[in-house]
C-alpha cells in the first residue's frame, strides 16, 4: 500500500471504490473527454467502477491517484506502465492526468504532476518517464514543458471517445531534467 502524496495545496491518494461517482461527475464532460485516449464515451458510473477496479494500490506504477483539493476529488493522475504501448512510448512509466473543468487554470495539474514525479523518482521508478498529449492539447503540453518534458516522437493515437486516430505528441522526461520548481 502506498501513502498519500502531499503538495502545497493538494493531496494525491490512490483511487478508492468510493470515488466512482466523484470521478464520473468530473470526467463525463466532453471538454475533458475530448483530450483523452482511453475512456469510453458516453461515460457511466460503471466505467468509473471498472477504472478503479483496474488499479492495484500496491505500487506507484499500477495505481491511479485521485487529485484532491480540500477533500474533494478534482481529477486523476497516474504513472502506469502499459505493456501494449511500450513500442510507442518507450520502456518506462507513462504519466497521464486529467482535471475537472471547474478546476482548470489554477496550476493544479502542474502541482500534482510535480508531486507525483518527485515521489516516483525518489522511489526509484527509473530515470525516464514518458507522457504526451494529442497535438492540439496546448494546455497539457504546456504543463509537461514546465516539468521538463521534451518532445520525443509523434504518432497517431486512437482516441476512444472520438472514435478514431489523431496526431499525438509523445514526450519524455529524464530525471536530470526534472524541474522541481
Amino acid at each position: 500500500m502506498i501513502d498519500a502524496i502531499r503538495t502545497d495545496r493538494l493531496v494525491l491518494r490512490p483511487v478508492h471504490p468510493d470515488d466512482a461517482e466523484a470521478i464520473r461527475a468530473q470526467i463525463a464532460d466532453w471538454d475533458v473527454m475530448r483530450w483523452l485516449s482511453q475512456p469510453p464515451w458516453p461515460y457511466t458510473l460503471q466505467d468509473a467502477v471498472d477504472f478503479i477496479g483496474s488499479c492495484s494500490p500496491d505500487d506507484l506504477t499500477t495505481t491511479a491517484f485521485a487529485i484532491t483539493h480540500a477533500g474533494a476529488v478534482i481529477g486523476v493522475i497516474d504513472m502506469r506502465i502499459n505493456p501494449a504501448l511500450l513500442p510507442l512510448r518507450g520502456p518506462g512509466p507513462h504519466l497521464g492526468f486529467w482535471l475537472g473543468r471547474a478546476h482548470w487554470g489554477n496550476g493544479y495539474t502542474t502541482e500534482a504532476a510535480r508531486g507525483l514525479l518527485a515521489s516516483a523518482f525518489a522511489a526509484g521508478v527509473g530515470d525516464t518517464v514518458y507522457s504526451g498529449a494529442f497535438a492540439d492539447n496546448a494546455a497539457s503540453l504546456r504543463v509537461q514543458e514546465k516539468l521538463g518534458f521534451v518532445r520525443n516522437t509523434e504518432t497517431l493515437v486512437f482516441a476512444r471517445p472520438r472514435g478514431r486516430e489523431f496526431p499525438h505528441v509523445n514526450t519524455k522526461l529524464v530525471k536530470s531534467a526534472f524541474r522541481t520548481a
Partner: protein, 221 residues
C-alpha cells in the same frame, strides 16, 4: 486475410503534400484501439517467417514467397523506397503487417496480411483503417487502391468495410503460387475515406478534400 501488394516500378520524387506543423517529427507508429502499428524490426524475422510461411497467408499475397526462409523474410521486412510497411502488434506480439506502395501519381496501393490464428476478429479492418487514415490525413495521399485475389473473400470484406469500391479485374502475379492469379481491384478516393470516418472527423477534412478537387480541376483552391 490479406491483399495482393502489387509490385510496381520504383519511382522518383516524393508526392507527399504540405506538412501539418504539428507533424514535424517522423511519425512511424500508430496506436489504434487494440493494436500498435510500428516499423518492422530485424527481430521480427522469426515470427514473420512462422506467420507468413503459412500457405493460406502467402498464397493470398503477391510478394511473399513459399516456402519462406528466414533470409527471404529479412529481405521482405525492409521496405522499398516508396513503401510504408507497418508491423501489426497485439499486446506486444507480431500478428501481421499493413502498408502501402505510393505511385508517382500520388495514389497508394494498400496491402495487408494477418497470421492465420488472428483472423476473424476485425484486426485487419482496424489496422488498415488506421493506415488509410495515416496516408490521407498525415501523408496527404489523394486516395488508395487495393486488390485481392478472387479466392480471398476475407480481404474483400475488409476493403468494403473501409469504403473501397470495386473497379474491375486484373491478373496479378502471386509469388507463392508461381503464376498470375485473377484479382479484383478497388479504389478509395480520399473523399470516401473521409466519409467513412465518424462524424467528428469530417469538418477538419472537408477543406483538404475541396483543395484536392480544385487541384484536379486545375483551379486554385
Amino acid at each position: 486475410m490479406m491483399v495482393a501488394c502489387a509490385v510496381l516500378p520504383a519511382a522518383a520524387r516524393s508526392a507527399a503534400g504540405p506538412t501539418n506543423p504539428f507533424l514535424r517529427l517522423p511519425m512511424v507508429t500508430i496506436a489504434t484501439h487494440r493494436l500498435v502499428l510500428r516499423p518492422f524490426r530485424r527481430s521480427d524475422a522469426k515470427e514473420f517467417t512462422r506467420l507468413a510461411g503459412d500457405w493460406s497467408v502467402a498464397s493470398m499475397t503477391s510478394d511473399i514467397p513459399h516456402p519462406l526462409s528466414e533470409g527471404q523474410a529479412r529481405g521482405w521486412l525492409k521496405p522499398g523506397r516508396r513503401e510504408v510497411r507497418f508491423a501489426i502488434e497485439l499486446e506486444g506480439r507480431l500478428i501481421g503487417g499493413a502498408g502501402y506502395y505510393q505511385r508517382r501519381s500520388g495514389t497508394a496501393e494498400l496491402g495487408f496480411w494477418l497470421g492465420r490464428e488472428w483472423w476473424g476478429r476485425g484486426y485487419a479492418t482496424e489496422a488498415t483503417r488506421a493506415v488509410v487514415h495515416y496516408g490521407i490525413e498525415v501523408k496527404r495521399l489523394p486516395g488508395f487502391t487495393s486488390s485481392h485475389f478472387v479466392d480471398n473473400n476475407a480481404s474483400a470484406g475488409v476493403l468494403r468495410k473501409l469504403g473501397f469500391e470495386p473497379t474491375g479485374r486484373g491478373r496479378i502475379i502471386c509469388t507463392a503460387r508461381g503464376y498470375e492469379v485473377e484479382a479484383v481491384t478497388y479504389w478509395l478516393p480520399a473523399r470516401y475515406a473521409v466519409q467513412a470516418q465518424p462524424v467528428m472527423a469530417r469538418a477538419a477534412s472537408a477543406g483538404r478534400w475541396r483543395a484536392w478537387l480544385s487541384r484536379l480541376a486545375g483551379r486554385p483552391a
